[in-house]
Subunit: 147 residues, 2 copies
Amino acid sequence: MNWDEKEMLKLDNQLCFALYACSKEIIALYKPYLNSQGLTYTQYITLLVLWEEDGLNISELGNKLLLDSGTLTPLLKKLEKSQLVERVRDRDDERVVKVFLTDKGKMLQETFSDLPQKMFCNTGIRVEEAIKLKAMLNQLLGNIQKL
Amino acid sequence: MNWDEKEMLKLDNQLCFALYACSKEIIALYKPYLNSQGLTYTQYITLLVLWEEDGLNISELGNKLLLDSGTLTPLLKKLEKSQLVERVRDRDDERVVKVFLTDKGKMLQETFSDLPQKMFCNTGIRVEEAIKLKAMLNQLLGNIQKL
DNA sequence: CCATTGTGTATTGTGTACAATTAAATTGTA
DNA sequence: TACAATTTAATTGTACACAATACACAATGG
């Protein structure tokens, strides 16, 4: 093993760990806001999607969130139990479960309307930096998906 | 809710989701390499730390990996079961458990010596881009930790 | 010396996350 | 119309991830 290889095996030199750590820490910053409404981060981003487009089925949600049915099925049942969504099996195709926001679920959007701005302040990052960073992440994600 | 607020509640406009998605997808790229050696990503980065500095205790590992004992205790017991590490309770302070690599665990480093390079190629990102991205992530992480 | 405070690990409970499998329903095709 | 292939969710099993708690031990201050 040469010097370069040894250097690159150090945790601090790994891009993946920086991503992994950043992701976890930022999600942790969301927690106080979300937990106060009885939500987790994954449940929150599921609602984000439904606020944009209601009545998606589970695989459509999974495509947008990059999550599979093993994650979404129990999560959506919890959201249903707290009466934020309704799961309705499609009459025309009984395999399909469509997910609809309840009135309570729709109203919750207002509660979180200022959360993105709040979170942005918490990170202490400049606007142009954030835009640049997101662009780089999206490009990276695009590269990976193509494989 | 004004237009800006509504825009920022869209999934695709959220930096946090870009981080979360990127992190998961890159870790997924690691899986074939790691699973072939019976390892998960979290176990791999734990070994990365130990290859740099052997004999750390659990809280020291947790500080470097940003993980708590609830995650590390069962993980280290699995690594011990597969004979890659040894958990030794400190004689002087019975609260402390120190973690040492076995010979088998030390030798595994060679097996992964070219993995960072391989992974880098898989992402299809340019060197300067990767460096820039990692710098931005580390700065963001620094900002958060200070809160 | 001893009560208090702090530290280090383990345990329990909840909630993802994903691979693999199953099961039901639909679709394509001979 | 049979029936194979595909699609869609749900289920099962393994592995994090973290909050909350418990517990043992250590350090410290009066």
